[in-house]
């Protein structure tokens, strides 16, 4: 295998890992409290919603990779797929909160929505940390889905077209590198996060540093495997 290809694989895998970490921090994750309307965000864990979005993106990216071998198009298709998934989920969750539980979407971390300037505090139930998916959180979630889907699709593309793995191998390999990155980001978040306006978002660099090292090492392992096999896989 040529050195340029090796470096390309490494770079794409590392960028994918960093994007996975960034995406996990941008997604509005309410965890278990959100299922009771006690916290803002999507009512599930970071890893769970991240995997759901990225799997949708990976499916689209793998479909598109059979039509074209343009890096930007494959990666963007994956990113758009993940964004559509997360946007539909957030909109429908809001509908469920409003009509099923009578709860108004409100952020618990900021008194005023930074984007639409809507007041938040008067609408919040006391003793809770917000509920639903208000607009600033929706925007953050869209960015998070985009970033995570882009990361997954980049890794898939690198393994498919530069390491010359088969689609199935590339899919499971991309997922296997993606999962540790998302999980380490989830450990960094510890529970719930609302998005880029959340104070916890400032912890992002720690997670990025860890993700960088982990994806770099995983990328080196993949490069060694691919170069020993020489395109058999």
């Amino acid at each position: 295998m040529e050195p340029t290809l090796m470096i390309l694989i490494l770079v794409l895998v590392v960028i994918g890992g960093l994007l996975a970490s960034l995406g996990a921090h941008l997604l509005p994750v309410g965890g278990a409290p959100a299922a009771m309307g006690t916290a803002t965000g999507i009512a599930t864990g970071t890893v769970q919603i991240m995997l759901g979005a990225v799997m949708t993106g990976l499916f689209t990216a793998s479909s598109v990779a059979t039509l074209t071998n343009n890096l930007a198009l494959v990666a963007l298709s994956g990113a758009i797929g993940a964004t559509i998934m997360i946007s539909v989920v957030m909109l429908m969750a809001n509908i469920l909160y409003a009509f099923g539980c009578g709860v108004v979407p409100v952020s618990g971390r900021v008194p005023v929505d930074p984007i639409t300037k809507e007041p938040q505090t008067p609408y919040k139930t006391p003793q809770t940390d917000g509920h639903g998916v208000p607009n600033v959180v929706f925007v953050s979630g869209m960015l998070g889905g985009f970033s995570g889907g882009l990361g997954g699709a980049l890794m898939y593309y690198a393994l498919l077209n530069y390491a010359h793995f088969s689609p199935n191998t590339a899919g499971i390999g991309a997922m296997s590198i993606f999962v540790p990155n998302a999980i380490i980001a989830a450990y960094n978040i510890r529970g719930t996060i609302e998005g880029f306006h959340d104070p916890k978002f400032k912890r992002l660099p720690f997670s990025l540093a860890t993700s960088f090292v982990v994806s770099l090492l995983c990328g080196i392992v993949v490069v060694i495997a691919a170069s020993v096999l020489g395109g058999v896989a």
Binding site: T169, Y187, N188, C218, V222
Partner: protein, 283 residues
């Protein structure tokens, strides 16, 4: 609302003796299971039953590592760390299989162990970084060691499963029979469950290690059944169909024995096991 008090709390259950205890402590079990599964994984010509037994040991080791880490609370639930282990395991398997041809003698593949060791190293590094005060700062005692062990067990489990299904550790064979057919998806998720489900299912203040381990062995039996069928369908074993059938029988026996043992232990150790009954009214 009138609800008659339940007739459940008639007598406090007496101290019960443990009816399943597996002697080694965490460290000894790690060493024993690691050596057994590492030796078996290099000898690809062994019959599938022996590989299945080694697989169960590897699962026990992984479950113990998950248990000692998750006791302190991870913040994202127990399952995440099991999936992390298997994610590392798939990467390590790719590397181990790529290096399998080096130092190979017949059906003896010491080269695959490089993948195991490398993933142990990556697990150690990610453990150090996750636990470091200036980085993710999870502050979980011995997280470094547990993550290293999880990287190693994950790789050993996936390698053993590939070896069971294909009967060899040739990358071409594994690619054709395991990855292209999609059996890798089953391996990925079932092995992850074998590692994290026992502790997740038995979580609580009165969790007991022996009981938790029964679940791990029982899931190991289920994996053996499914992989045995997969091996029969793919039909690449050098021992013919008997190899797969014996693995299915082995898995079924293990599953029945340990599932019954677990359910009996639960019925016996619960606060009370009652056919039916109403809940205690307050006050």
């Amino acid at each position: 609302m009138t609800v008659t008090p339940a007739a459940v709390e008639e007598e406090a259950p007496a101290e019960k003796k443990l009816d399943f205890s597996f002697p080694p402590g965490e460290t000894e079990l790690g060493i024993i299971a690691g050596i057994i599964s590492a030796v078996v994984v290099t000898l690809a010509a062994l019959p599938a039953v022996i590989k299945g037994a080694a697989l169960i040991f590897a699962i026990l080791w992984g479950m113990d590592s998950v248990r000692k880490t998750s006791k302190y609370g991870l913040g994202t639930g127990v399952p995440s760390i099991g999936v992390l282990a298997i994610g590392y395991g798939v990467i390590g398997t790719l590397m181990g299989l790529a290096l399998a041809e080096y130092g190979r003698a017949g059906q003896f593949y010491p080269g695959v162990l490089v993948g195991v060791l490398v993933m142990g190293g990556i697990g150690l590094i990610s453990g150090i970084m996750s636990n470091h005060e200036k980085l993710v700062a999870m502050k979980i005692p011995h997280l470094e060691r547990a993550m290293m062990e999880l990287g190693m067990t994950g790789t050993l489990i996936i390698l053993l499963e590939c070896s069971i299904v294909t009967g060899s550790l040739n990358f071409g064979a594994v690619l054709e029979d395991v990855i292209e057919t999609g059996v890798i998806a089953l391996m990925f998720i079932f092995s992850a469950f074998a590692i994290f489900h026992p502790y997740n299912a038995c979580l609580g203040p009165d969790e007991r290690r022996e009981r938790t381990r029964m679940v791990a062995v029982e899931i190991g039996g289920l994996i053996c059944i499914l992989l045995g069928f997969a091996q029969i369908v793919i039909g690449t074993s050098p021992y013919g169909i008997l190899d797969g059938v014996s693995l299915v029988v082995f898995g079924a026996v293990i599953w029945i024995v340990f599932f019954r043992m677990f359910i009996r232990a639960c019925f016996k150790e619960a606060y009370a096991t009652v056919g039916t009954g109403l809940i205690k009214t307050l006050g």
